[in-house]
């Protein structure tokens, strides 16, 4: 193989990571995270059905610092996956694929997910 001086494409060293790629991988990551969160949702229902004692154990586990952080993470995952899911459903109609549109909707989803998560925790009892 002879080495050529022709440039490689994409130019990996000067490649700017686009926001749309962040959202793409976040959509999958939040989906997987919520699949794990589904276990906790089922545990919540199951412990509630099993009686006060099991329910108290669940509340204690989720009331810990780690439990609280996980709940915040899952709530963000939920609102992000929901907002970006709407973006995907909109794309399914064949619209919104222009570069500026995709970038704008990406930032809109990020802001919406953050605002919804914050609003949710402020409205919780």
């Amino acid at each position: 193989m002879s080495k050529s001086d022709r440039p490689l494409s994409p130019h990996l060293s000067i490649y700017r990571w686009p926001i749309t790629m962040t959202l793409s991988i976040l959509h999958r990551a939040t989906g997987v995270a919520m699949s794990l969160g589904f276990v906790v949702l089922v545990a919540w229902l199951f412990d509630a059905a099993s009686g006060e004692e099991s329910y108290a154990t669940f509340v204690e586990a989720m009331g810990s610092t780690i439990g609280g952080l996980m709940l915040i993470g899952w709530s963000f995952a939920f609102f992000f996956h929901l907002s970006n899911g709407v973006r995907h459903l909109f794309w399914d109609t064949g619209r919104g694929f222009e570069k500026q549109q995709a970038n704008a909707s990406a930032w809109f989803v990020l802001v919406a997910a953050t605002v919804l998560t914050a609003g949710f925790w402020m409205m919780l009892p």
């Binding site: 229902l45 199951f46 899911g85």
Partner: protein, 126 residues
């Protein structure tokens, strides 16, 4: 000249053997979860607190029980479809892939059965 058999053309399933059913199932469950999910988080914000008595009283209400059943069943289905794609994308060894897919399906069925059992137990206990 079309080399596809008439039966294959009628079924329209293509080389993956399941046609657009995976894609379509994911989208339809996504629309359902958009509504059910919003109902769920709004319901959480209207709770007075998350003590045992309050949570059981909320699940006991038939409307809440039915919507929770729909939420957990649809969520398990949507989650299974998503995890299936993740496994197919990242696990390449055929044996491990099939094992992971079976394990995922078993796990989802067990989880949704536990959820349905718990909701019905609370809802039908009175």
């Amino acid at each position: 000249m079309n080399l596809r058999a008439p039966l294959g053309r009628v079924l329209g399933l293509g080389t993956a053997k399941d046609g657009t059913s995976h894609w379509w199932g994911q989208r339809v469950s996504a629309i359902a979860l958009l509504l059910l999910g919003l109902w769920f988080v709004i319901s959480l914000t209207t709770m007075s607190d998350f003590g045992h008595a309050e949570v059981v009283a909320a699940i006991e209400r038939p409307v809440n029980g039915i919507l929770l059943l729909l939420l957990t069943v649809t969520m398990a289905y949507h989650s299974y479809l998503g995890i299936q794609v993740v496994i197919e994308d990242y696990v390449h060894a055929p044996g491990v892939k099939v094992l992971a897919l079976i394990l995922s399906r078993f796990t989802h069925v067990v989880l949704v059965t536990a959820a349905v059992f718990a909701i019905l137990k609370i809802g039908l206990s009175t």
